[in-house]
Amino acid sequence: MNSHDLQGVDVTIHQVKKKYDDREVLEGLDLQIREGEFVAIVGKSGCGKSTLLRLVAGLEDINGGSINLDGTPLEGLNKQARMMFQDGRLLPWKRVMDNVCLGLPSDEKDRAMQAITQVGLKERIHDYPSKLSGGQKQRVALARALVHDPSLLLLDEPLGALDALTRLEMQRLIESLWLERKFTSILVTHDVEEAVAISDRVILIENGKIALNQPIHLPRPRQRTNPAFSMYVEEILARIMNRKSKKNYSMLVNTETESLFNPINN
């Protein structure tokens, strides 16, 4: 790669509150993310996952608490972060190349080319988004986010609309790019398996707070056939559905909120 600083950023979310009108969405949420860490956020629809990402991206103001990036309070737009949305949000009137170049200085076209090549769409740079498949569109969105060398990548259910095979492929792509560049990542997903497959830690948001903070101690590349993998998935699902897991897996530390600021070794 080039001489850019490819380090991730440390994100500290402290007692963050957010309300719309009179409805409190986040009620004092604490979350500490180390630089280069990959965190997955799960939770029921409407629990505030997208809201949290938008706050970290600096697209909306918080109503209380603080967000710090490497110790510096976030003010306005988060310039170190790039966001990838569920619906892609490519500009339909721009070709692939120009979509990836969005917000990029005009003398850095070759970096756009590099990013497009990395997501495997070199042949399609002159196509309009309407000519691409769903998975290809999300690849373009990924290239568009990565071309800025963000130290924080925010992924809001980017794979939600894709079929199972394309999802797997995209998960691998995201994981490999993350391993290569070591940016900090926050992935919102409704798919617990996806969360376990890709992240260092799975966070569950419930009632505006963090209800589960589960480190995933599995070696990469992760094997879904690994029994421990299914244990994690089942345990987290059970917790989301608010029922006790039938079996009690001793290997899973019960990490409700107290383990929040513990370092995780994997």
């Binding site: 009137w93 721009k94 917000g103 800025h148």
Partner: protein
């Protein structure tokens, strides 16, 4: 949409009916079934066109009509576009202007002809003014609506990617509103010709509408029909130009 290459048959089929009608018309005129004072034969109309071209009258009238259409269209179109942009983008401008513009829009602009003649006489100003007024509203409404209906999520995305106000406007807002703006422009071209025809027929010393009214006094049926055909051609050609730009500007949309 279809590809650019059409088979020879596809190219000619749309012209079968017009060709057949003109041929039948010519034959019926020759046979005397259509009396000359009701409707002259196509050949007579062509002859009238040739005669008027030789005297230079035709090009003079066509030129002045085109000039009025163009100038009126530019003034009204630019004003409508600018107000549409302003009110679409800035909340305050919207509050300040929109209600007034919506009220003015409900006055049929052709009803203003007597007033406009009192103000400007029957000179160029009155015709240009009426055309501009007619063109302004469709362009305004569609520009305004196009901007208001842009996907807010795209704008949020643009902000998240660090675009400044100017970049947001040129890369997201304007292209996002473009198809609606073009609908307004195509519609306003129709209004433009209609306004011009009425204005030139009622009060003018030159132009195609004047040529037709003048011919009526001398019972020149062929010139009257020629004028009507020229208006139809103008309308068709301007629509084709608009369609061409639509194809260029909305290439991504097919």
């Amino acid at each position: 949409m279809k590809g650019n290459r059409k088979g020879p048959l596809e190219k000619f089929v749309p012209w079968f009916i017009p060709f057949f009608i003109i041929a039948a018309w010519q034959l019926l005129s020759w046979s005397g079934a259509i009396p000359e004072r009701i409707l002259p034969a196509p050949s007579q109309i062509i002859q009238a066109g040739i005669d008027l071209t030789i005297t230079g009258e035709l090009s003079e009238h066509m030129g002045i009509s085109l000039w009025r259409a163009l100038v009126g269209f530019l003034i009204g179109g630019i004003a409508g576009f600018v107000f549409g942009l302003l009110n679409g983008v800035f909340r305050f401008a919207d509050l300040f202007f929109d209600t007034s513009i919506q009220m003015l829009r409900n006055i049929p602009h052709l009803a203003l002809i007597p007033l406009v003649i009192m103000w400007f006489g029957i000179g160029e100003t009155s015709k240009v003014f009426l055309v501009a007024l007619g063109v302004l509203f469709p362009v305004y409404i569609n520009t305004y609506h196009g901007i208001k209906s842009i996907d807010k999520k795209l704008i949020e995305m643009g902000k998240a990617y660090g675009l400044n106000g100017k970049e947001l406007f040129f890369q997201i807002i304007l292209p996002g509103a473009m198809s609606s703006i073009l609908v307004g422009i195509r519609f306003s071209l129709g209004v433009m010709w209609l306004t011009l025809i009425v204005a030139e027929t009622i009060s003018a010393q030159s132009g195609i509408g004047y040529m037709a009214m003048n011919a009526r006094e001398f019972m020149q049926m062929d010139v009257i029909v020629l004028s009507i055909i020229i208006y139809a051609l103008f309308g068709k050609i301007s629509d084709m130009i608009a369609k061409y730009f639509e194809g260029k500007l909305l290439k991504w949309n097919n």
